[in-house]
């Protein structure tokens, strides 16, 4: 008799397949190319260091979890790439390394390694580093000025559009800048068109269900259309909110992480809508910080609750159908 050793729930897709993680890693390569184009080779060096740190931390965690070192696990590669792309290109190297190591050792290791984590490791690492080194994470270099490997105080750092929206100002970004991602922001999150193309790739490869990012972006758009500055239209407000910060990046790469996402479709939609509501509440009433990341971390905690609610709804629906028959 073969015993199903997978953790509960047993209705799940092939989320532990290495191909799925490999697809996400492939989809994260184009933002790295764009970061290298805008900020120089430093972005690639930062990515390499973060990925190496994440892989080493994962080996250590799998060793201490008593299952031997999992040499070919691709999930820390994805974690390292996400953490690196969410950082400003001018940040010291130790900060993304600390974020990646924190994410793996605090979020994956205690829960039992890959496939068991309740929270997104990249989101947790970014949250930790945002609280520790908050000011450094919100100052971005100007694009199209290649950065040297060792960044000193001579580099010009500006605020991104998210901070400007938070303070009540309207960021001035032209349509060409928007299309090409030629404005200050985290390394990999400003290139909206590239991220959209990667979303199409992930949809075609069936790593991401279309309704999850759609529900998230729809919720955010509704909020942006209803609550905006007097001097801009609803449409402009929607575009600015979607472009500012790391919202699109989170919607495409982090929201649909297979381990933390709920399993039932209704629960997934509820999860995405909740993430959107919490993101916008954090943006309006929270402090100047990467709101989408913190909102995702909070919504991860509700994921089992949504699964439970969807399961109960299904049971009640079946009972009602049986009683009617």
């Amino acid at each position: 008799m073969s015993v199903n050793e997978r953790p509960f729930p047993h209705i799940r897709s092939e989320e532990r397949s290495p191909l799925m993680m490999l697809d996400t890693a492939i989809a994260l390569i184009p933002p790295f190319f764009m970061a290298c184009f805008y900020y120089g080779v430093r972005s690639l060096a930062m990515g390499a260091m973060t990925i190496t740190a994440a892989i080493c931390a994962n080996w250590i965690s799998s060793l201490f979890n008593g299952r031997g070192i999992e040499w070919w696990d691709a999930s820390p590669v994805v974690t390292g790439m996400i953490v690196a792309l969410m950082m400003p290109a001018s940040i010291p190297f130790y900060i993304p390394v600390i974020a990646a190591v924190f994410g793996i050792l605090v979020v994956k290791f205690p829960f039992g390694g890959t496939g068991n984590n309740l929270f997104n490791p990249a989101a947790a690492g970014l949250a930790f580093v945002s609280v520790c080194f908050g000011d450094q994470l919100l100052s971005y270099p100007v694009p199209l000025e290649p950065l040297p490997m060792t960044v000193d105080e001579g580099i010009k750092l500006v605020q991104g559009p998210a901070s400007m929206l938070k303070m009540g100002a309207i960021p001035t970004i032209s349509v060409e800048q928007l299309a090409l991602g030629n404005f200050a922001g985290p390394m990999g999150t400003t290139n909206i068109l590239v991220i959209a193309a990667c979303l199409v790739y992930l949809l075609v490869r069936k790593n991401v269900k279309w309704y999850v990012p759609a529900a998230y972006l729809a919720t955010v758009s509704c909020f942006a259309a209803c609550i905006h500055h007097e001097n801009i239209t609803a449409g402009e407000s929607i575009v600015l909110e979607l472009v500012a910060g790391s919202l699109m990046f989170v919607a495409v790469y982090m929201l649909s992480e297979p381990v933390t996402l709920p399993k039932r479709p209704m629960a997934k939609v509820l999860y995405a809508v909740t993430a959107g509501i919490i993101t916008m509440l954090f943006r309006y009433y929270g402090v100047a910080i990467q709101s989408a990341v913190f909102a995702l971390l909070l919504t991860n905690a509700f994921s089992p609750l949504f699964d439970y609610m969807a399961e109960r709804a299904r049971v009640l629906e079946r009972r009602a159908i049986r009683e009617n028959e």
């Binding site: 953790p7 509960f8 201490f64 979890n65 008593g66 605090v106 979020v107 205690p110 829960f111 039992g112 390694g113 496939g115 068991n116 309740l118 929270f119 947790a124 949250a127 930790f128 609280v131 908050g134 509440l281 954090f282 009433y285 929270g286 402090v287 910080i289 709101s291 990341v293 913190f294 909102a295 971390l297 909070l298 905690a301 509700f302 994921s303 089992p304 609750l305 439970y308």
Partner: protein, 197 residues
């Protein structure tokens, strides 16, 4: 006035959540962990105690605030309010509503006098923004309901935690603490990096 009430209520519920941000705990939670109904009852009792004791504490605080030894009698005064309320409710329920007393009596002492109720009263006394009795009421209601929701959230996560392939050292309390810590870290996005004391 309603907007202000709602704003203070929501702020007390989310940003200054008694459990996640301030880490106030309550004795007797271990036996409640398995049952959401008992948790709702317990949380309801705590909120009710806070809703009644809050405005009373606001009034008494106004009387004693100017005294030179306020710093020392602050604690025992608020505690006497809670003890008086508990004794009154206990006696009344036992005498006039024995059925309700059977249901509620076991949890009443732990729900009435604990870190959450006492701490919430002390924090409201210290907060200069709560200068009206209805603001204090909003704060205390938000705090009590926030605590109940925090307990329910932990209950919902509990089954997922127990089905993880965690190593034996991490099973039980360590994993629960790490989960609570990560949720509290996520709430920093609302409050910023401030010590709530």
């Amino acid at each position: 006035m309603m907007m202000k009430f709602f704003a203070i209520f929501v702020a007390a519920l989310t940003a200054e959540n008694l459990f996640f941000t301030r880490a106030f705990d309550v004795y007797g939670l271990r036996e409640l962990h398995r049952s959401p109904k008992k948790m709702l009852l317990f949380g309801g009792l705590t909120t009710a105690v806070l809703a009644v004791a809050g405005p009373v504490a606001y009034g008494i605080n106004k009387l004693i605030y100017g005294l030179p030894f306020y710093y020392y009698i602050n604690g025992i005064t608020h505690l006497l309010i809670l003890v008086g309320l508990y004794a009154g409710v206990y006696w009344l329920l036992k005498k006039y509503q024995p059925k309700v007393f059977e249901l509620v009596g076991k949890y009443l002492p732990y729900a009435a006098i604990n870190c959450c109720t006492f701490g919430s009263l002390l924090l409201a006394a210290k907060d200069t923004e709560l200068d009206r009795w209805w603001k204090a009421l909003a704060y205390h209601c938000g705090a009590g309901i926030g605590f109940t929701l925090a307990m329910l959230l932990l209950w919902s996560v509990r089954q997922r935690l127990s089905s993880c392939h965690a190593s034996k050292s991490f099973r039980g309390l360590p994993l629960q603490m790490i989960t609570v810590g990560l949720i509290a870290l996520a709430l920093v996005g609302l409050t910023g990096n401030q010590l709530p004391a």
